[in-house]
């Protein structure tokens, strides 16, 4: 059955697999907002939908590929980035984006993430950070704030979370940004920037998770309010400042934009050209 969307979504409707609606996401989950913003970015990119590819791994965010009416691949846990690289190398004319969760990209897929950044592959990686493993029942992860309670940190998380923008920058990413699902205009601009940049782009997107709220005895609205309002936009923030700590304002912005490094794809096709001539 094809769900009919309100007229306001007319422009993005052809980009959504509406026959699969409603989505699997919990009420008040933020991933749906990203789905909307990403579809909008496809429209505004001016790149035809058939030239967009989305690859996702496993988890709540991993399901996003299945709702986008572009060539979309829902692969194994943590492995979306290498799969996306294979597509991009084979067909560099395609706009290849990875959209997956913090657990998928920064924990199980962490090695692929840093190496893809180091090699500066021309793909866009959108990491949805909801601070927890939601789909599997609320375990702590590599981005869970210190002290947070989860099923596997019942006495409070003792681990230091990854600072994703700092990690991405240190590994060599060409574009690094952080927004929340509620900052849709800024997020849209960041996604368009990621499409445009010839190199590895990382956008951390903070998203409220009902499971996180529940495991931390929070009201979901309280969590949403923190992500909507307890934030500061600071594009020139030092990357060390971006550590997320409960109670402290969360810094958002487009932090890194490097255009001095050619992408892996440009370099490898340069070699091919040279070898074929020689």
């Amino acid at each position: 059955m094809v769900a009919k969307l309100p007229p306001v979504y007319k422009d993005i409707e052809p980009l959504l697999r509406t026959e699969r609606f409603p989505t699997i996401w919990c009420p008040a989950c933020g991933i749906g907002l990203l789905l909307k913003t990403f579809a909008k970015a496809i429209v505004e990119s001016g790149i035809p939908p058939e030239k967009h590819v989305v690859v996702s791994g496993i988890g709540c965010t991993g399901r996003i590929a299945g709702y986008l009416r572009v060539d979309s691949y829902h692969v194994t846990h943590g492995r979306a980035i290498p799969f996306a690289i294979g597509i991009k190398l084979a067909k560099p004319e395609l706009e290849v984006s990875v959209i997956s969760g913090d657990g998928d990209i920064c924990s199980i897929g962490g090695n692929h993430f840093i190496h893809a950044a180091r090699r500066n592959h021309d793909i866009n990686v959108i990491v949805v950070n909801n601070f927890i493993y939601g789909m599997t029942g609320g375990q702590m992860g590599a981005t869970t704030p210190k002290g947070a309670r989860t099923m596997t940190s019942p006495y409070g998380n003792i681990e230091e979370p990854f600072n994703i923008p700092l990690l991405a920058y240190a590994a060599g990413a060409s574009f690094v940004a952080r927004w929340t699902v509620f900052h849709d205009k800024q997020l849209l601009e960041a996604i368009l920037k990621a499409f445009e940049i010839k190199g590895f782009s990382v956008i951390e997107v903070l998203s409220p998770c009902a499971i996180y709220a529940d495991r931390n005895n929070m009201d979901m609205l309280q969590l949403i309010r923190i992500l909507r309002t307890n934030t500061r936009v600071k594009h020139d923030a030092s990357l060390e400042e971006l550590r997320i700590e409960p109670g402290k304002p969360i810094i958002l912005g487009n932090f890194v934009e490097r255009r001095d490094r050619p992408s892996f794809e440009e370099l490898i096709y340069g070699i091919i050209k040279k070898c074929k001539r020689g």
């Binding site: 691949y73 492995r79 290498p82 692929h112 091919i272």
Partner: protein, 386 residues
């Protein structure tokens, strides 16, 4: 060198021959991670792939290697990786994904001695079972068993054809001796070279809503690549014909039975084996891979001593030509099957599955070491009467 290898006779290392065969088969994407004793495949690909306009990438690990190969395959390229036992273990989850998404890919496994790190520089035959049963759930794939560099060359080309025809992962199970042995390689004339390309949709991309990437009306559904306008979805979840997640009993049954039927229904077409002197044999020696040479030598010596023994050599581990073993067993002429292999009983297990009457005897051998002809002959003489 530039371009593809010209027809003719070459003196080449097995691993290099494997890489050249892949290029001739149309492989234009290689991703790999260094591992002894397969690294020469990668070295050769690093130099040669750009010369034929293909992509070479050294990945951060074996998982990224096969996943990048699968991504390239999803984009329509013939793709490959090469590794050894430990790397194949790491690739297992992705092999299941390749089976589930029906993405053709070739994995060359230059086996070494295991378990674990084992003896990286010595041969092994310990990946027979992991090549078939390594990933979770039910699926079928094809695994070739070359016995010398020429066969490694020929079977690599065949592996690409089989992967394309059935949209499956295909493994070439060579070993250190075959991979690092120099040998005579005959490169066939292009007219002799039959290359298979995956079946493409007949529906034009404009009608993408009608295209079913997992159409169960066909055993092997037509494949559309990323970027061709079909706006398809693929998922490792149980899925319906559109590629959408579907957890129903019907969808589960329809998909998984088709994944195994692709190979089971074509097993007789795919499976290969060699027979020597089985016409009047009372005993069947079973050997494969680099042990074949020793086995043949021992066989000739045993025959000259009047022992009625023949050789059965599987050239595909999977699908295994079990029906031929059953025929031999049912003939009533065979007293014993003697399985010699460099492991603790992997092919032995398979042979036992098909033999109901004769005795099946296993001769294990220390991982890393090639059984000498004299060792095989001694065992034959002990087990067989004139």
């Amino acid at each position: 060198m530039g371009g593809l290898l010209k027809p003719g006779v070459y003196f080449m290392e097995g691993n290099e021959a494997c890489a050249e065969a892949a290029l001739l088969a149309g492989c234009r994407f290689y991703a790999g991670y260094p591992i002894t004793p397969s690294s020469e495949v990668m070295h050769h690909m690093a130099r040669r792939m750009p010369e034929v306009g293909g992509i070479f990438i050294q990945a951060e690990d074996e998982i990224a290697s096969i996943m990048a190969a699968l991504g390239a395959s999803a984009a329509g390229l013939k793709a490959m990786t090469a590794t050894s036992g430990p790397g194949l273990s790491l690739m297992q989850e992705s092999i299941g994904l390749a089976a589930m998404l029906e993405l053709p890919v070739v994995i060359v496994d230059i086996q070494r001695a295991g378990p674990s790190t084992g003896i990286p520089t010595l041969m092994g035959q310990g990946d027979i079972m992991q090549s078939k049963w390594g990933s979770h759930g039910d699926y079928e794939l094809v695994a070739y068993l070359p016995s010398n560099p020429q066969e490694l060359f020929d079977m690599t080309i065949e592996a690409f054809n089989t992967a394309e025809e059935y949209r499956i992962p295909v493994i070439v199970l060579a070993d250190k001796i075959i991979g690092q042995m120099y040998g005579r390689i005959r490169v066939p004339d292009p007219s002799e070279l039959k290359l298979v390309e995956r079946k493409r949709p007949t529906i034009p991309p404009e009608k993408f809503m009608e295209y079913l990437p997992f159409d169960s009306r066909e055993l092997v559904p037509p494949f559309a690549a990323a970027g061709e306008g079909y706006r398809l979805h693929m998922t490792g979840l149980m899925h319906d014909e559109r590629g959408y997640p579907n957890l129903s009993k019907e969808a589960s049954w329809r998909l998984v039975t088709r994944l195994v039927r692709k190979i089971r229904e074509n097993a007789k077409k795919i499976a290969q084996w060699d027979e020597i002197a089985l016409d009047d044999a009372k005993y069947v020696l079973v050997a494969f891979g680099s042990v074949t040479g020793s086995a043949k030598y021992a066989l000739r010596a045993a025959r000259s001593k009047g022992i009625k023994i023949g050789l059965f050599r599987p050239k595909t581990a999977w699908p295994f030509p079990g029906w031929r073993i059953e025929e031999l067993d049912k003939s009533g002429e065979i007293e014993k099957f003697i399985v010699i292999e460099v492991n603790m009983g992997q092919m032995y297990h398979v042979i036992r599955e098909y033999v109901k009457n004769a005795e099946v005897i296993h001769i294990p051998y220390a991982p890393g070491y090639l059984p000498e002809p004299s060792f095989i002959l001694e065992n034959i003489e002990k087990l067989c009467t004139r």
